[in-house]
């Protein structure tokens, strides 16, 4: 062995500096970390004094998966404003102890009391003290707050509160149910399909108040004492807020727990605490400084960014473990800590630099995805990985040289014995494995190829889907509430379809013939009604229209002027006739109130019928239901009158009747006051993005085969739609980012090994790992959601590391021992050991995440472990097997090669 060659001062000057000045390095690292952490932490304790620094902001809003200015979001916001729609907390009430469910006087009394209480839940707005924040009481839906229309005595129609006060008897309670079931808007929304449960919909001025509102409601419910009924509080805002709280728990418990397990495993491998502490320090420093930087730069703690520490820790430990593992083996022969570490560092410096660069490339590529939280996640992990590399090549050597020689001596001698013991376990196994790969290379490759085939089948089965509610474990109260409510009601996931007039649609160029025809009809009507001088006056209007040369918009001022002159000069009798001309003009201007037109409402009703027939849809509500319901009740409640009336005037008069209620503003949730936009509410039974996607595609198909009248166009909005939009972006974005970073890493590998075939070879474990992981995901039917998508980047980061370490040693050893065959055994001692240790330590270290109550963390835990295991195994099996099968391809210049 040529020791001198390795001891040559080719070692990086930074590393050399660290070895020569270990104290300075330790101080620099401590100082930088303390500064970053204090800058991030202190503003939260002294917000006033440090107002120029950002505080920790938690963001659990799924909308933020899209950028602020993303069209889908801007449109959603615009529509929410136009239709006065708010974020809603849903309180479901069931009563299993009563044959009539909640419809008994006792339960309804409690619900009434809870409603009154909820209506009072408002506080001065922190940002605008003159306004109040909290529950929007006028939009609250509860039996106590909604109107109801029915036949009164003497053929009269009765508008009244559904339940103005709690029913005194159970019979009265049943009447509430009977009435509510008759109103389509309430049936399946307020009152359950089975008629046993009720739901209150509590709109909020700001969804961030939902946790507070939920706590208040829970306290109020607790004050009812011993009750028969059960209350379930859910709704997306509650889920989001609760998720934020759980997320912090997660970061405070699971991440440190994972750290502890890694620590114990490292201890078991290296036996001496003093060796184990240094990787732990590096991991901690990197995780803390990265999170610190994230906060200082004003980024939010999001579902993605909260996972940054969990991703950084294993990567930070990887380098340290390589150094320590190598140091172990070398110290025995070199017996000088300084020389050993220089030797180790000169040998590892390049592969470590390259693995770091490839990992950074993998994560930084996420910055190219169109999803902001994923971008932040990728960029900050890249920063963390860089820090991990920096402190691994400086602090770890500095730490090792700081250990006194005596300690090191006693430590090494102690591990010597342990080493022998270990050899009986893992090392022996690895040597056998090495021989196996050499002797049965073809078998391994055939096995791999068949596995890849199975994986390919699995990938074809992958189901792209996400559901924020499913981020909670199945037993979580939020999931339970969600399940109960969706069992009883038409669904609690709201999707909205806006129908509006296409602004770009071209106006009918020749408007005159139709207009004149309508004027003729109006004239005939006026004549029939015996207005004075009808013929003369209407002819004046007719001539004005005929002589007009401009477009329809410029015609109305002309006619207005004509009418005003007419009014001024008219006798009392003629005044009425001119009024009829003006009436005609007014009705002409109302022609663009599209959603008073029976054909538009009819289309809406048909579309709704189609949508309701879709399996994933529970129920839908629209303007046409309102019109039909009021029309039926105006006409003696006859079922056959549950229809859209025949003229736009009849629709308008039906709607004005509807507005003679306690809640006239309810109408504006369905249509804008200009009647040019309408919103169709769809209640989905699940929050699965694939269900929403299915509905969107089905509706698009329906509209394509049933063209909309009046140049209408349909656009989706609401959170369920936003989820679909970012999911689509995620799938395509992740694929592009993965492809991009794969190619970048491939080029880096080709440059590193200065060989195309070696470069390609080093990508094989990574490709197999990613393929198998996604194949398994497809086969077991796990949805391809966001955490799963991000895993592909982690695979690039970790799987290629093992290949780099293994292959660079393989080359070196083949050169050193003269042939590949001779290199196999030493290759499967120390280098293979380092890889195996790495895979086990880090993999097992993440299994504590399985105990997490939030599913994304569980997913990440399981798949990190699987990726590490697969990457380790595939590096150790496939790479040697391929080299064995095709030695000429890889060792062309090596004369000794077999």
């Amino acid at each position: 062995m040529t020791q001198a060659k390795h001891d040559s001062p080719t070692v990086n000057p930074i590393v050399l500096f660290s070895i020569n000045h270990p104290k300075i390095i330790t101080w620099v690292m401590t100082l930088i970390t303390v500064i970053i952490v204090s800058l991030a932490a202190l503003p939260n304790f002294y917000p006033k004094e440090l107002s120029f620094l950002p505080t920790i902001k938690v963001d659990t809003d799924p909308e933020n998966m899209l950028a602020d200015d993303e069209h889908a979001r801007v449109y959603n916001q615009q529509m929410k404003t136009e239709f006065s729609l708010s974020d809603i907390v849903v309180v479901g009430v069931t009563n299993k102890n009563n044959a009539n469910g909640v419809f008994n006087s006792k339960t309804l009394a409690n619900i009434h009391e809870l409603t009154q209480f909820a209506m009072g839940l408002s506080w001065p707005d922190k940002k605008h003290p003159e306004k109040t924040a909290g529950v929007i009481s006028i939009d609250l839906l509860s039996p106590s707050t909604v109107d109801f229309i029915e036949q009164g005595g003497l053929g009269s129609v009765n508008f009244s509160w559904l339940m103005s006060e709690p029913p005194k008897t159970d019979a009265e309670a049943l009447l509430v149910r009977e009435r509510a079931k008759k109103i389509p808007f309430l049936d399946g929304t307020l009152i359950s399909d089975d008629g046993e449960a009720l739901a209150l919909y509590i709109p909020l001025t700001d969804k961030h108040l939902s946790y507070q509102v939920r706590e208040e409601l829970l306290a109020k419910i607790a004050s009812f004492g011993d009750i028969q009924e059960s209350y379930y509080i859910t709704g997306l805002p509650v889920a989001e807020d609760t998720f934020g709280v759980e997320m912090f728990k997660q970061m405070a418990i699971s991440a440190p727990l994972a750290m502890l397990v890694i620590f114990l495993l490292l201890w078991w491998f290296f036996k001496r605490l003093i060796f184990v502490t240094s990787p732990m320090i590096v991991a901690m420093v990197c995780a803390m400084s990265t999170m610190g930087l994230l906060i200082i730069t004003g980024h939010t703690i999001h579902i993605m960014s909260s996972m940054i520490p969990i991703f950084i820790m294993p990567i930070a430990i990887l380098d340290a473990v390589h150094i320590l593992s190598d140091f172990f083996d070398r110290y025995n022969t070199i017996r000088d800590k300084r020389e050993t570490i220089i030797h180790v560092m000169s040998e590892l410096f390049t592969p470590m630099l390259i693995t770091t660069l490839t990992t950074i490339a993998g994560f930084a590529s996420l910055a190219l995805t169109p999803i902001p939280p994923v971008q932040v996640f990728g960029i900050f992990i890249a920063i963390g990985v860089f820090l991990a590399w920096l402190w691994s090549i400086t602090f770890i050597p500095a730490f090792i040289v700081s250990i006194s020689d005596e300690k090191l001596e006693s430590f090494i001698s102690a591990t010597d014995k342990d080493d022998k013991k270990q050899k009986t376990l893992m090392a022996r196994l690895l040597v056998k494995l090495g021989r196996f790969t050499y002797n049965h290379a073809l078998l391994i490759i055939l096995f791999t190829v068949s596995l890849v085939g199975v994986a390919a089948y699995g990938i074809s089965k992958i189901n792209v889907n996400d559901n924020p509610i499913k981020w909670f474990a199945a037993s979580h109260p939020i999931r339970v509430a969600d399940r109960v409510l969706n069992e009883h009601f038409g669904g609690t996931y709201m999707a909205y379809l806006a129908l509006e007039v296409d602004q770009n649609s071209t106006q009918n160029a020749d408007f005159k013939p139709a207009l004149l025809a309508r004027l003729e009809t109006a004239e005939q009507q006026a004549k029939a009604d015996e207005y004075a001088n009808t013929g003369v006056i209407f002819t004046l209007a007719q001539q004005s229209i005929q002589n007009h040369t401009g477009d329809i918009a410029s015609l109305s001022p002309v006619l207005e002027a004509l009418i005003n002159t007419g009014f001024d000069n008219a006798s009392d009798e003629e005044f009425d006739t001119w009024d009829q001309v003006q009436l005609f003009m007014d009705s002409e201007s109302q022609r663009d109130q599209i959603f008073k037109q029976p054909d538009a409402l009819g289309y809406l009703a048909d579309l709704q019928t189609y949508i309701n027939s879709l399996e994933v849809v529970g129920k839908s509500n629209s303007l046409s239901d309102v019109v039909k319901t009021v029309h039926r009740e105006l006409l003696l409640g006859k079922p056959e009158e549950f229809r859209i009336p025949d003229s736009s005037n009849a629709v308008a008069q039906t709607l004005i009747t509807y507005q003679n209620s306690h809640r006239p503003h309810d109408l504006w949730h369905f249509v804008t006051p200009d009647y040019r936009k309408t919103s169709l509410w769809i209640q989905l039974k699940s929050g699965d993005n694939q269900d929403m996607d299915f509905v969107e595609k089905a509706v698009a198909k329906y509209i394509a085969s049933h063209p909309m009248p009046h140049n209408l166009q349909a656009n989706w909005f609401g959170l369920t739609h936003i989820n679909v939009v970012w999911q689509e972006k995620m799938v395509t974005g992740m694929f592009e980012s993965f492809t991009g970073s794969f190619l970048v890493v491939l080029v880096m590998m080709i440059l590193l090994f200065r060989s195309f075939s070696w470069g390609l070879l080093s990508m094989i474990p990574l490709t197999v790992t990613v393929g198998l992981i996604y194949g398994i995901i497809g086969l077991i039917g796990k949805d391809y959601d966001m955490p799963v998508a991000v895993l592909s980047s982690l695979s690039i980061g970790l799987a290629v590391d093992y290949a780099i370490h293994f292959l660079s040693r393989a080359r070196e050893y083949t050169e050193r021992y003269g042939s590949w065959e001779a290199a196999v055994e030493p290759l499967f001692s120390e280098p293979a050991m380092a890889i195996a240790r790495n895979a086990i330590v880090v993999g097992v270290g993440f299994l504590p995440l399985l105990a997490a109550p939030l599913v994304p963390y569980q997913t990440v835990g399981v798949f990190i472990a699987s990726i590490l295991f697969l990457a380790g195994v595939s590096s150790l099996l496939i790479l040697p097997a391929l080299i064995t099968l095709m030695p000429r391809l890889f060792f062309r210049n090596l004369k000794q090669t077999v």
Partner: protein, 270 residues
Amino acid sequence: MNIKQLLLGISTLVASSIVFAAPTVDEIVNRTNYTAYYQGQDGKAKVKMTISDAQNRTRTREFVILRRDVPTTDELAGNAYEGDQKMYVYFSRPADVNKMVFLVLKKKQGLDNRWLYLPALDLVKRIAASDKRTSFVGSDFLYEDVSGRNLSADKHVLIGEDANYYIVENTPIAASEVEFSKYVMYIHKTTFLPISTEYYDKKGVKYKTYTALAVDTIDGHPTITKSEAKNLQTGGSTLMEYSSVQYDQGIPDDIFSERYLRKPPRKLLR
């Protein structure tokens, strides 16, 4: 100046010269109810209503109100500040509600009778008047604001006064039947017009205000010709502008019947 007004002036003079002190709260609310709802034997007004929402999107309605008092007296001493009353509200615009009519037979005792005529459905519909605190055709005014609230429904307390106004607090006697906990009226001292009214919800938070924006003396009667209702909960508001206000037009009694719903009295509505 007509006889009635003269008499009114004298009675005021007499009352104030005898008592030499502020009128009692009952006198104040009685006179206010008179000026707001009962001036003249009958009355007519054209109204333009502009309904705005929080986003300043507006809608308009135009209608004519015909009113006739059942009691034949117009003197306060003869209780002309209350009593049965008939109202015929004819909608002219927007075009799609043209000819819609709303008829109210207001009763001092018992429930009012209300009818609605929807011309496009050719439908005359009786409306069960169980609750008068519903919106008037989608505006921020309630039916009760248009027809008047029964004086005996509230307890009235004079809680203060300044140079121009009596401040009267009104608390509902049947609190469970209404959505407010009280309303405070600012009543002009010489005209007895309610210039401003504020409604408070059950938590004591002000949620609705009514303000007179213009007052005119027509046929000797101080008359609000422009008033606004603001809903502080929705952020919406409604402006009512009165024109062609006329009193004592001799509006025939038979106009206020079902028969005239389908065939509006064109001349009276001009």
